[in-house]
């Protein structure tokens, strides 16, 4: 039972352009949605989050959009930089503080 899906295993984007990473979920009880970034040989680090009562949250170059009716969220990175190359995980909070991670999307930003 895959409650969180990131259907694009990888994404390549030119430096300076927009990167859009998508996440779909099935559990309507999710209250918060967190995005984590992971570099090789390191643990994931928190990037940005959004509450289910909002439809957009922005932090610098990173914006997360939430469409509750479609059970879909997306992370936009504008402009993309080579240092953004990493694996990105969507991790909703089920309300019991049990974060369920998606399978991740590997982003490669080409210089």
């Amino acid at each position: 039972d895959q409650q969180v899906k990131q259907n694009s295993p990888s994404l390549s984007v030119q430096e300076g352009r927009i990167s859009i990473l998508n996440c779909d979920y099935t559990n309507s009880m999710f209250d918060y949605f967190l995005w984590y970034k992971k570099y090789p040989a390191e643990g994931p680090t928190f990037l940005i989050s959004i509450s289910s009562i909002k439809d957009k949250n922005e932090d610098g170059r990173f914006t997360v959009f939430l469409n509750k009716s479609a059970k879909h969220l997306s992370l936009h990175i504008v402009p993309s930089q080579p240092g953004d190359s990493a694996v990105y995980f969507c991790a909703p909070d089920s309300g019991t503080y049990k974060y369920i991670f998606g399978t991740g999307t590997r982003l490669k930003v080409l210089a």
Binding site: V4, Q6, D31, Y32, L34, Y36, A41, E42, G43, P44, T45, F46, S49, S51, F89, A91, D93, G95, T96, Y97, K98, Y99, I100, F101, G102, T103, G104
Partner: protein, 116 residues
């Protein structure tokens, strides 16, 4: 502020052997998590502690995995005996509290386990 410390960084063992991982969370963080990340997958929660009590261990294979968090600080995760499918990165994470939704987790660098 010091981050989450984990050791060892790498471990290679043969199947049926036992292995233990150690985690020291960020000072003052009440909640501690152990995740298992198999290659190509997202981290999967194994066990969650609040202080020194277990909150959720529903996905911990209890016939071979055990974990403890003595005195509500450090934690150890043990596998005995190990199987080939236990090869993964074991990540420890901590958070300040579980009283507020959306509390972000701070992860250690993980222990990469290879079972031969």
């Amino acid at each position: 502020e010091a981050g989450v410390a984990q050791s060892p960084r790498y471990k290679i063992i043969e199947k049926r052997q036992s292995v233990a991982f150690w985690c020291n969370p960020i000072s003052g963080h009440a909640t501690l998590y152990w995740y298992q990340q198999i290659l190509g997958q997202g981290p999967k929660l194994l066990i969650q502690f609040q202080n020194n009590g277990v909150v959720d261990d529903s996905q911990l294979p209890k016939d071979r995995f055990s974990a403890e968090r003595l005195k509500g600080v450090d934690s150890t995760l043990k596998i005995q005996p190990a199987k080939l499918e236990d090869s993964a990165v074991y990540l420890c994470a901590s958070s300040r509290t579980r009283d507020r939704g959306g509390e972000k987790l701070f992860f250690g660098s993980g222990t990469q386990l290879s079972v031969l």
